[in-house]
Structures are given as C-alpha cells and as structure tokens.
Symmetry: C2
Subunit: 484 residues, 2 copies
C-alpha cells in the first residue's frame, strides 16, 4: 500500500497555519501557556498572531481579545490553553471563525483517572471532526515548522530556524522540546516536528504517512508511547521505512514504563518483544533514549554515504591517545564495527611523518602530542589514513580542553581547516569525538563549527559507535529488501 499523497493536503494547516490564535494566553509569564507567546514571537511567525484572554488587555506587549469571535481577522489554527470544561463551547466559536485545526495544550483527559475525563476527550474530538476541525492532542505542545516559523511553547535557540530534512513526531511535550533543543545545537536540521500527546484525532499513522509523503522530510523520527490501530501503524511504517530512514524510540516498554505511559498519554504501551519484532520487520531503527535518538539522526543526516564497517581512529591530538585508542576499539567492536589493520604502505609513510616515540602507527593511529603543534605533519597523517584502501570512515578524537591548554582558541579554526580539506578531497565520512571537560565555554566552539560544517560530533566513542551501527543496520535492511 503506497503512501497516500492526499495526506499532505489533509494536514496542510497543521504544519502551515496562516494565522494563529492562542485562547487562554496567561498574564503570568511564569505559567507554561505563556511560552506559546514567547515561542512564536521568538520564531517570528509571519501570519497574524491573536491572543485571547477575557480579563487582560495586554499580554507580552500584545493586545488581547476577550473571545475568539471578537477577533476581526480570519483564523485557521487555534492553540487551546483553557480549562477542559470550556472546550466544547469553544468549538462552536471555532466553527464560526472557520478554524481548521485546534491544538489542545490542556491536559487531564484520558490520561487522568478523573471520572468522565476520557469521555469528554472523545466528545471534544467527535464534535470537532463533525465540524470539520482537526485536533492535535489533547495534552501536547503542538507544532514546530522552522521554514514556516511555527514554534512549540519553547524559546528555541537561533539554530532552530535553519530548516532541514528531519521530521519528528512525539507523544511527549518534554521529549519534543528537549529533543529539538539538544538536536539543533548539534547541527540536526528539521523539516517539521509535532508533539501530539494523546493522539486522539491525528495519530502516529497519520503523521508517519504525512512525513513519508512530505518532500521536505528525508529522515523520519519518532517517540511513541502507544498506538490504537496497530495494523495501520505497521503498514504505514513499513512503507515509510522503505522510502526514508525511520528511527523510533518506543517509550513504556517496561512494566513500570507502560503504567507511566498510561498516566501520561493514556497509551496502551504493548509488550517489549512485540514492539522490537514489529519495528525490525518494518525496517525501522529502534533506539533507546533521547541521546541515542539524536546521535542516530545526526549520523543519518551527516553520513548518508556510510555503507561499510571499516573504521580508522586517530587519537593523541594534544596528547593522551593510547587509552582512547584502546577504548575506541572496544566500543566500536562491541557495535559490530571493524578497526582493520592499515595498509603496510600507509604505516611506512606514517612512520616518516610522525615522531617515533609516543606515536602509534597502527589503527588506531596515535599521532603523538608533538604532531598536533605541527599541523603540516598532522594534516599529512590524516590524509594518509583517509587514503588507506582498508578504511571507509575516520573517527578523530579531539579533546578541546587540552587544545586550549597549549594554544589560543583560534587554533580551533586551523584544525577545522584540516578537517574540511580532507573531507573535500576524500569521499569518506569523518566523525569527530569532542570530549568535553571542565574548560571554559570555548569548548563548545569546535562543536558549533562542526555542526555548521555538518561534521557529526559525539561526546564519547560509545555513542558514536552506536549511532554508526544504527545507520549501517538500516543500510543492510535496505540492501536485503532490494536483493532479488
């Protein structure tokens, strides 16, 4: 069953609203709902932004309206931050204003144990659908679309407004905000993201289908707590995975986690064994935790040509390479990656290039501290390793703190130049291990520069190894699927 392209039109307003009204914009800026105003102002949303608050005149410098109806302009998208008992009535106002989508931030529905809360949730969704209104949520923080300048209630960093190819659907608001924040800092660029909470109307199969069809989304990622229509979920996931790398973190796999998922997004979490089998069969890559999710997506985004397991490791810049070399081998091997012996010719040339004592001329190559202060030698050593026919990708350890002990911060640029040059010359992936210590803020500089240059950085080799292995797992799935 191929992806139904009509989903793009169906959910058009979800991701591309022309005008937004926030119903229940709070005066107290410490209340969570006020972050919608902050977030959209920070994003520079281009359409009209209306605030509704019956008793306040000005919120964050914006004149409020006493009701949705009293807004003069047209509104196609409403953010709902009012007590749940008022939402059914609000829908009538939405109908009158010809609203197409509402996003319900309000919580306390099916996920709570309050009598009648689950029924109210169903009533709201049924009434909305009967009025031609689609619902995001309830119990969610909504949509982020950098190209269209739509924001979740979160003051996202500057980098968040450079669009890219990663789509993200997420049942948890926190796992949306935290994930976007840590990801954009590392150079991950998003097409769209959506926190959809209980998923009572628009649910994961709809969103997977949308991102599968969306030409702007090249990698699809998700945090899912539960699904209602398992068969459709599997069908759509299989289809999307065959088109685009699909990375899924399934929350609530443990007994306690499933109980928590029920209280969080009213989800029936399902068993661990079933989920693992389903995701594997569908060709999706399963990850555990926000860090592995970000690590893996970063690898998919920056290393699309990764298709072999033969890694070279270069360590010892600014000293201290031996232990890192040993640890790298162990961590890479544990993930099924290979750290092959270098070509004899490469070894011979490395011996002519690097100082003899304190260097290691194998793979991992320890360039020795001295080489780092001589970028000509260092550059040549890197070049030799990249040229080796036994090697398909290169990981370089770079302890920025040690660099800053001996060199001015501008030296980071010189190192970056070596990286950019070798990446331009060779068609092999480069991964940087940026071990952060207790140095001043300048430590982040290298990571920022790498993020800009789309060179992936990882804080430990264990994390890099896992991310690389996840990408290779997907390539192998694709190769198997294409085999006759």
């Amino acid at each position: 069953m191929p992806i139904d392209q009509s989903i793009l039109e169906e959910l058009e307003t979800v991701f591309y609203p022309d005008s937004i009204a926030i119903v229940g914009a709070p005066r107290d800026e410490r209340k969570p709902g006020s972050l919608y105003v902050k977030g959209l102002l920070n994003a520079g949303f281009r359409g009209p932004l209306y605030l509704v608050n019956p008793s306040v005149v000005i919120v964050q410098g914006i004149q409020t309206y006493s009701s949705l109806i009293s807004i003069p302009g047209s509104i196609d998208y409403v953010i709902v931050n009012i007590a749940k008992r008022f939402i059914l009535d609000l829908l009538d106002e939405c109908r009158e204003k010809n609203v197409k989508v509402i996003q319900i931030f309000t919580a306390g529905f099916g996920e709570s144990d309050e009598d009648g809360a689950s029924d109210l949730e169903q009533k709201i969704v049924q009434k909305a659908r009967s009025l031609g209104i689609r619902v995001i949520g309830p119990n969610c923080i909504g949509v982020y679309n950098p190209a269209h300048r739509v924001s979740i209630p979160w003051v996202l960093p500057r980098e968040a407004w450079k669009p890219g190819g990663v789509a993200y659907l997420c049942q948890s608001g926190g796992n949306t905000g935290f994930f976007l924040e840590i990801s954009v800092k590392r150079g991950i660029r998003f097409s769209k993201a959506i926190s959809y909470g209980n998923g009572t109307d628009i649910d994961s199969p709809d969103l997977l289908e949308y991102f599968g069809a969306d030409p702007e989304s090249e990698i699809v990622s998700a945090y899912i707590e539960g699904i209602t229509d398992g068969a459709r979920f599997f069908e759509v996931l299989k289809e999307v995975s065959s088109l685009k790398p699909t990375v899924i973190w399934k929350g609530g796999l443990s007994g306690a986690g499933a109980r928590a998922a029920g209280s969080h997004t009213a989800s029936l979490a399902g068993s661990e064994v079933v989920w693992e089998a389903v995701l594997k069969q569908a060709g999706a890559i399963q990850v555990e935790g926000l860090e592995e999710l970000a690590d893996t997506i970063l690898a998919f985004q920056t290393l699309p040509k990764l298709n072999s397991k033969r890694v070279a490791v270069i360590s010892g810049l600014f000293g201290a390479g031996g232990g890192a070399s040993v640890a790298s081998c162990d961590a890479l091997s544990r993930q099924g990656l290979e750290v092959p012996v270098l070509n004899a010719e490469t070894i011979a040339q490395l011996k002519n290039t690097l100082p003899f004592d304190g260097s290691i001329f194998q793979n991992p190559v320890d360039v020795g501290a001295i080489a780092t202060s001589d970028l000509v030698r260092f550059s040549k050593a890197v070049e030799l390793v990249f040229s080796d026919q036994n090697i398909d990708m290169v990981i370089i350890h770079l302890p920025v703190k040690l660099l800053l002990c001996s060199f001015p911060v501008e030296y980071v640029d010189d190192i970056m130049e070596v990286f950019l040059k070798v990446r331009q010359t060779h068609n092999k992936p480069l991964i940087v291990l940026s071990q952060k210590l207790s140095a001043p803020i300048e430590e982040d500089l290298l990571e920022q520069k790498c993020a800009e240059a789309q060179i992936p950085t990882y804080s430990t080799v264990e994390r890099a190894a896992k991310a690389i292995a996840n990408v290779i797992k997907y390539q192998e799935f694709k190769a198997d699927a294409c085999a006759p």
Copy 2:
C-alpha cells in the same frame, strides 16, 4: 591471603615524595613535559621542586640545573622526560643522589616495534631495582595525591585539591587526566591516583594491594589494559574487593582493542570471557568506559547506604515530566531496578498537594509545572514521596534550562534548600538528574552545588540507572559472601 600492610611503607615515596626533580624540563611550554612544571606549580607542591635542563637557565620562572648531580638538596623522586637512551646513565646519578623512585614519562619501549626497545626497558628496570630505586612506568604520567599536593602533568581544576576516599590506578595517561578532570567536577574526591603505563616494575597487583591497605582509600578504581602475573592479580583483587568497593574498567577486550593495548602499554590484554569471569568471581564491579567508571564511583561515594532496588522518580519540575517519567521507568527497569506503586495514602495526599490537571500521582510522580513555582507545595510533594514506605531512594529530574527560562538563577538555591532539607530528614538516597541543554553557563551551577553537597547528579537516567545497579551489584556480592 590478607593484604600485606608492609606495602604502605614499600611504596611510601611513590605517593609521598619529599622533593621532586624533573629531568628534562622543556623550554617550549607547548611540549607535553612542561605540563609537569605547570601541574606541580598549580598544585602547590610543598617540597622542593628542581628542574634539570642542560642548556636553559630559566623554565617557567624557575632556575634550572644542568644535571641531577648539580642540585644541592636531596631528592627522593625523579620525573624522567629525556630520550630513552640516556636513562641508564641517569640511574647512576639517581643512585648518587639517593633517589628512591623514578617516574618515567618517556615512551617508546615495549609498546613500540623498534628493535631493542623492549630490552632497554627491562635493563632500565633491572638496573633501577638493583640500585634500590623503584620505577613508575615507563610510558606514564605518574602520581596525583591531593593531600600531599602532588600532581600529574595536567592543570587540574580547583576542586581537585580537596582529598577524599577514591583511589585510582590507570595504565593510560589520558584516561588518568580526563578521568580526574571529569570526576572532580562532579564531586568525586580522591585519596590518590597513579598512571603507571607499562607497569614494568610497579604493577597493578602492587597498586591494588597498596590501595587495599591505605586507610585513606575507601573505594578502589582502575583502568587496566593487561597484567603479567594473573594469579597474584586475582588474589589481591579478591582481597581488596572484600574490604572496599572495587570498580574496574578493562580496556582491550576486543581483538582490535587488544592489538591497540599492545601498542599502547605493551599489554597482553586477555580474553573478554576470562576477564568477565575473573572480575565477577573476585567481587569487582566491571564497567565500560570513562563515563560509567565516573558514574559508578560517584554512586559508591555519595550513596553508601544504597541497598534496595525500589526507586521513586519525581519529574515535571518547570514542565515536561510525562515523557521523562516513561523513559525513567524503562531505563531503571532495564537495569533491574524497581519503580513500585506508591502507597495509597501517599497518592491521596499528593492529590491534595499538587494541581490536578497535568500532574501524575503515581510513581513516577509528575509534579506539574505549576508546583515548581510554589516551593511549599513542591517541598511537600517531595517530602511525601520520601516518606513512602514502598520507596528506598528518590530520583528527581531537574532541567536547569527550563528553570532559567522562568526564574532568576538564585532560584537554584531555593531548590537546593528543598533537597538538603529532605536529605537531612530522611535516611534515603537522593539522586538528581540534571539534564543540560543549550542554556548559558549557569546550567553548571546546580551540578556544582550538588557536587559540594555530595548529592550525585547524572545527565541521563540511563547513566544513573547503570551506576545505581552497579552499587547494588556490589552490595549483593558482599551479602552473598557474608551469608553462612
């Protein structure tokens, strides 16, 4: 075979030198050897510090001597940073000055494939021993003893000079420096650490025995690449583990890692299966990687009373608790920990304390964003969870970035006050999850304050769960060993 206490006297000068000479103190401050001078000056080493350099008069403001012999005072400890061909002759000078210990920074011995390098290493050690001189290394960075103000060649942060109970022996210089730096920032306090490289004279069994006997060392940790006397290693390790928690990271377990260990410290790494069995049988806790090593030691140091698996999780401070709750359950369960249901009475009281919508009154408890701006309610909720009889330890999620979005940085102190009060009232471990995002430098503040208060912080629940599980593993080993 009980620990032989005479080892304390035997290795006294290794850890408590009265006077230090650095032979080969380089003029160029970018050369690695010059970090010995920097490190010892930064440490404020109390004894005389002499520098030897035949051709330079002043190095880092210190008058140098042209040879060891020409130094007027007595010297018991020499740091060797000269080409290896000169070391045999240097030993004669050491003998003349009555030196007791030399620490050889110079590399390029058994770990290199140079003809004769391994023989030279043996000759140096044999000659030293015959002259009554003990050797640390070669190919190592030496000793750190905060109480005695001895430093490795590394400008360690201020916190490094508060002594504590953690001993660390490490074959790798990098894994010594990096480990100390990340550890002291997190509040880990050391008795002593030693980087011993090839371990040709003083080797891991000697050092384990020393730390086993040392009254200042309460937790023993190690990074080991290889051993020569397996039987003695096992005997000593077993004895030390029975006295003190012993945490071991074995490097070179993979094929490639073993090859790298051979090139790094001339170690025969041994098979993964054998090592796992040996460490388990000896009662040592095996970890993988620097992060898990630090995470685990921090747990041993700060949570000595940890002896049960029943964890409560509190999330949702400053918003965003549901997803974190689900993920916490999964990660804790994966490590064999329990997230039990709270007492009915606790749940009832939580419902009276926290806002109804957006909170979750189970374990994990999502306190809801609103509670966080009302520390009286938050404090009461924390108190209720700590008081629950089903609960033996509490993990609190604290996203500092979100705190800083809504509150001034001083609010960190108010939160800390809640933590300190509850820790004082209850005899239950408290663990803080400090999720760092792209906030300004103030993000570190909470971690620093927790480190000072000896409340352990972890960046992810996965890391906390693993560390807690490692401590419990040791408690179980001890309980089994003591069972009739």
